[in-house]
């Protein structure tokens, strides 16, 4: 635990009045971002964050307050604010006070790091990003190119009035690069090296994103896409690579299974769900090949942890097994409200937001087919890789997604590139068309650092590991 936190805890204990239950969540963050764009080093940035989140439960009410003022006076003010809302909440509470979670177990978690961020000098990291810039600028038609490398260290402690202390320390690396090619009125971007994703661990994780080795290929594909024909308008088989499966899982399995959405909390913003409580245990969500787990134990995946922000110990569970829907993404509070078993997924984006139901690591379990076998199984189809467009209705049913890169498949063989590949479908039926799932060797770990949800809004990181998958008879189309 950071040295100055014990005094904050002591000061809080000195000012918090006698209530039925209290918890104090302390969060400290340090981030660094490096970027070289078009060969120009952008001003590097260091970002520090620090604050506490106070939760009070008393006589039928519950409320929270958060502050960056960590003096005794600042904490007293925050407690005063929480007590004010506690009073209002008693008159109008939606959630019974006995449903508020009370963690039972102390514990610790820390990211495993082999190569610390500091192992490479600032100059060395900038040199690497410059090298990548040179690899990206392969032709005059590359009109914008950049490479980034960031890291984020987050320390969280959850302390409760019952004497529970949970300490967790996370370290993430966020690499990536992109090249933009243009000719006349046609522009195409291709990204790689982990762009838009991140992994838990140290600099040793970069290689898993093929960072920096794929830089030249990324630029060449951007150029090739400018010259490529439009993706055809057709109904055909669809082979989604893991960096698009991530988005498909996220939008049309993850969000619909969030229990707070099913309970209606998100209807004004993120939306509701086509899934209803009576579906769990019997609803056929997908074909028998569909197996989806909540798995907080995959070390390099970005949302691995030992406890959620309500203090519930996190364990691996099947949400969908052999295509049958089993369990929602609901933390302790939602489980109590709904009377259903869930998982430890109550998470807060930072100290200034309360915990709500989120995805964490939500993974599609591998099957038995090699990638070449998946391709060979397709007579007429399109391979799509790397998400670039996402849209889905507020019940998480009617979706339309687009990718950076498409490749035709004819008679079981990969053909040329096609640009602007899009597809659309309906969640409730799409997963039942799952016809092939890649083997463990084809599985890749992805995710997004920026899943948005909640009122007030919260942006949080979620992990998705998946092999490539084949879907039959999908509506596919290209650009204008």
């Amino acid at each position: 635990m950071p040295a100055d936190w014990q005094s904050v805890i002591n000061d809080f204990k000195a000012v918090v009045p006698a209530v039925d239950f209290w918890s104090l969540r302390l969060v400290r963050e340090e981030a660094e971002t490096l970027c070289v764009r078009e060969g120009v080093v952008q001003p590097p940035s260091l970002a520090q964050g620090r604050g506490v989140h106070i939760s009070l439960v008393d006589r039928g009410g519950a409320a929270w307050a958060a502050t960056s003022a960590l003096t005794r006076e600042g904490l007293r003010d925050a407690v005063h604010e929480a007590l004010g809302w506690l009073e209002v909440s008693r008159r109008h509470a939606l959630v019974a006070a006995e449903h508020q979670p009370r963690p039972q177990r102390s514990g610790r978690y820390a990211t495993h790091i082999e190569t610390p961020w500091e192992a490479w000098s600032l100059a060395g990291k900038l040199d690497l990003l410059q090298d990548i810039n040179r690899a990206l600028k392969v032709d005059e038609c590359i009109v914008d190119w950049q490479a980034r490398l960031s890291r984020r260290q987050i320390d969280v402690a959850l302390v409760t009035g019952d004497g529970v202390v949970i300490e967790q320390a996370f370290h993430h690396v966020l690499p990536g690069y992109a090249a933009v090619a243009n000719r006349d009125a046609q522009t195409q971007m291709r990204s790689g090296g982990g762009w838009g994703s991140m992994r838990q661990g140290g600099l040793e994780q970069l290689a898993a994103f093929d960072f920096p080795d794929s830089a030249r290929r990324v630029a060449e594909e951007a150029i090739a896409l400018v010259e490529a024909p439009e993706c055809p308008d057709t109904t055909a088989d669809l082979l989604l690579m893991p960096d698009q499966m991530m988005l498909q899982i996220h939008e049309s399995i993850g969000h619909p299974l969030e229990l707070d959405r099913i309970l209606g909390d998100e209807r004004n913003y993120a939306g509701t769900s086509f899934v209803t409580p009576d579906m769990f245990g019997s609803y056929r969500y997908g074909s028998e090949l569909l197996n989806v787990t909540f798995d907080p134990g995959v070390a390099p995946e970005m949302a691995s942890y030992a406890f959620d922000d309500e203090g519930t110990p996190a364990e691996r569970d099947y949400l969908i097994r052999d295509g049958i829907l089993l369990r929602p993404l609901g933390g302790a509070t939602s489980q109590a409200r709904a009377g259903m078993a869930g998982v430890a997924n109550a998470r807060a984006s930072d100290w200034n937001r309360p915990a709500i139901d989120r995805m964490a690591n939500l993974n599609l379990e591998p099957g038995t087919s090699r990638l070449d076998e998946l391709v060979a199984s397709i007579g007429h189809g399109v391979l799509m890789a790397t998400n670039r467009s996402w849209s889905i209705d507020d019940s998480r049913n009617k979706f339309q997604f687009g990718c950076e890169l498409g490749r035709l498949i004819v008679d079981g063989e990969l053909q040329g590139l096609v640009r602007n590949p899009n597809y659309r479908g309906i969640s409730a039926t799409f997963w039942r068309s799952l016809a092939g799932v890649g083997d463990p060797d084809s599985l890749e770990i992805w995710g997004t650092p920026s899943c948005g949800k909640g009122e007030p809004n919260q942006m949080i990181h979620v992990g998705h590991a998946s092999p490539p998958c084949v879907f039959r008879n999908v509506e596919i189309f290209g650009g204008e």
Partner: protein, 438 residues
């Protein structure tokens, strides 16, 4: 906090070497957030946060940092000095920055907001009371937001405002709901009561058997809120100088193919009518207005400090995404849009938009909330959600029939990290042959 920020800045600048310039940006927020579901309180709380950004410049190089402020001057000063020293140690490791750009003229401004907010608890009591019997879900966000800028050249800027944003939906059943918003600076119970009364009226219409539309082209009226969703997408790279010069703007066709919007469409970044500070993070003062599209033709871009330096133009925005967007009104009477629509789809809200073909500014998204089927000028039934896929060149171009005279001032409800102070002034739009796909 203004006094503390001023003193913090002055004392930090005392430590600078002769060749160093320091830029400081302050952000403060003192906000209540209350979530409601089923017209009861789901989560209620308060956030008090303050943060400081430091940008140290020396010998044509720049390094930046951000830190939280605890509100105790000596403690904050000590941590800021330590961070400044880290920046000082990195500058020699950096190459010269050819796009470095900050204000060197001194333009100090101070704008204090007036606190006319109600007690938040009382406003919530009024809302819950007015909505008794309704399935209301939403959020109250209200309080003070402040921004400050100071530099070692002697400039000081301050902007504070007290606002609330009450955003809610009232559900009838399933996904059939009415969306509402009441945002501003002074609370009026009668305005709230009027909005809730209209919710109750619309709920009755949502009880009709919903229509399911077949994919195809429809005559539609897009409310200002629906147009706001579309313009959020267009604003994603649409008007930024960097995105124009690197051919990434979704309005590329206007630059390279001579495409235009309807001659009745004029779009601007109306800084003077917005809610954001008039100063940028580098100390530049924004102009009153930047004309982006005039009479359907592309005009100017938004240029932040780095793009302005790179491409040799003036800074006219804090960032290259609009924060105070305005589309000028047209000739349609906003009170008679059902009649003007005659038979077609009234789109109250759109949702989850994204590009399906960025080069042609083609956007897909979903209808949401109380979208209504209208026959002979009368709304007759709710419509089940539909996916659209259509180009802005059609929506605000060759298929635009008219814009309403009246504009709606929409205050962004966003609160990722901090409450947003972005807003937009938009009319409604009557559009022919709007494509629904799924």
């Amino acid at each position: 906090m203004e006094t503390c920020f001023r003193e913090l800045g002055e004392r930090l600048c005392e430590d600078l070497a002769d060749d160093e310039v320091l830029l400081l940006n302050y952000s403060g927020e003192d906000s209540d957030f209350v979530r409601l579901n089923h017209n009861r309180i789901r989560q209620a709380g308060h956030v008090r946060q303050q943060a400081l950004e430091l940008d140290l410049v020396a010998n044509g190089r720049e390094a930046g940092a951000a830190m939280p402020l605890g509100g105790v001057l000596e403690d904050d000063l000590s941590r800021a000095r330590a961070l400044l020293q880290r920046l000082r140690e990195r500058l020699p490791l950096l190459p010269e920055d050819p796009h470095l750009n900050y204000a060197t003229g001194v333009n100090s401004t101070v704008q204090h907001g007036e606190n006319r907010l109600p007690a938040a608890g009382e406003a919530l009591n009024q809302l819950i009371d007015a909505a008794r019997g309704l399935d209301l879900v939403g959020v109250w966000a209200g309080g003070e937001m402040s921004r400050g800028f100071a530099n070692s050249l002697g400039q000081f800027n301050w902007h504070s405002a007290y606002s609330f944003n009450l955003d809610w939906s009232v559900y009838r059943e399933g996904d059939k709901a009415v969306k509402q918003n009441y945002a501003g600076f002074a609370w009026d119970h009668d305005v709230l009561a009027g909005k809730i009364a209209r919710d109750r009226e619309t709920l009755a219409l949502l009880g009709q058997t919903p229509r399911t539309l077949a994919p195809g082209r429809y005559r539609v009226f897009l409310s200002p809120a629906a147009l706001f969703e579309l313009m959020e997408m267009v604003s994603w790279g649409g008007f930024g100088l960097k995105s124009h010069r690197t051919a990434q703007t979704p309005l590329l066709g206007m630059l390279r193919e001579g495409r235009t919007l309807h001659p009745g469409v004029s779009i601007s970044e109306h800084h003077a009518a917005g809610l954001t500070p008039r100063f940028t993070g580098e100390g530049f003062i924004k102009p009153d207005r930047v004309a982006l599209v005039e009479a359907g033709a592309y005009r100017d871009c938004l240029a932040d400090s780095r793009s302005a330096r790179e491409y040799g133009t003036a800074v006219n925005a804090a960032g290259e995404q609009p924060e105070s967007l305005e589309i000028g009104g047209g000739g349609l009477d906003g009170g008679a849009v059902f009649g003007a629509l005659d038979t077609g789809l009234y789109v109250s809200n759109l949702w989850y938009c994204n590009f399906s073909d960025r080069n042609h500014c083609r956007i897909t998204g979903m209808t949401r909330f109380a979208c209504l089927w209208v026959e002979q000028g009368r709304p007759v039934a709710p419509v089940n959600v539909m996916r659209f896929d259509e180009s802005i060149y059609h929506i605000l171009g060759d298929r635009l029939e008219g814009l309403t005279r009246e504009q709606e001032h929409i205050l962004d409800t966003g609160s990722y990290g901090w409450r947003s102070n972005a807003s937009a002034r938009l009319p409604g739009a009557l559009v022919n042959d709007f494509t629904l796909t799924l």
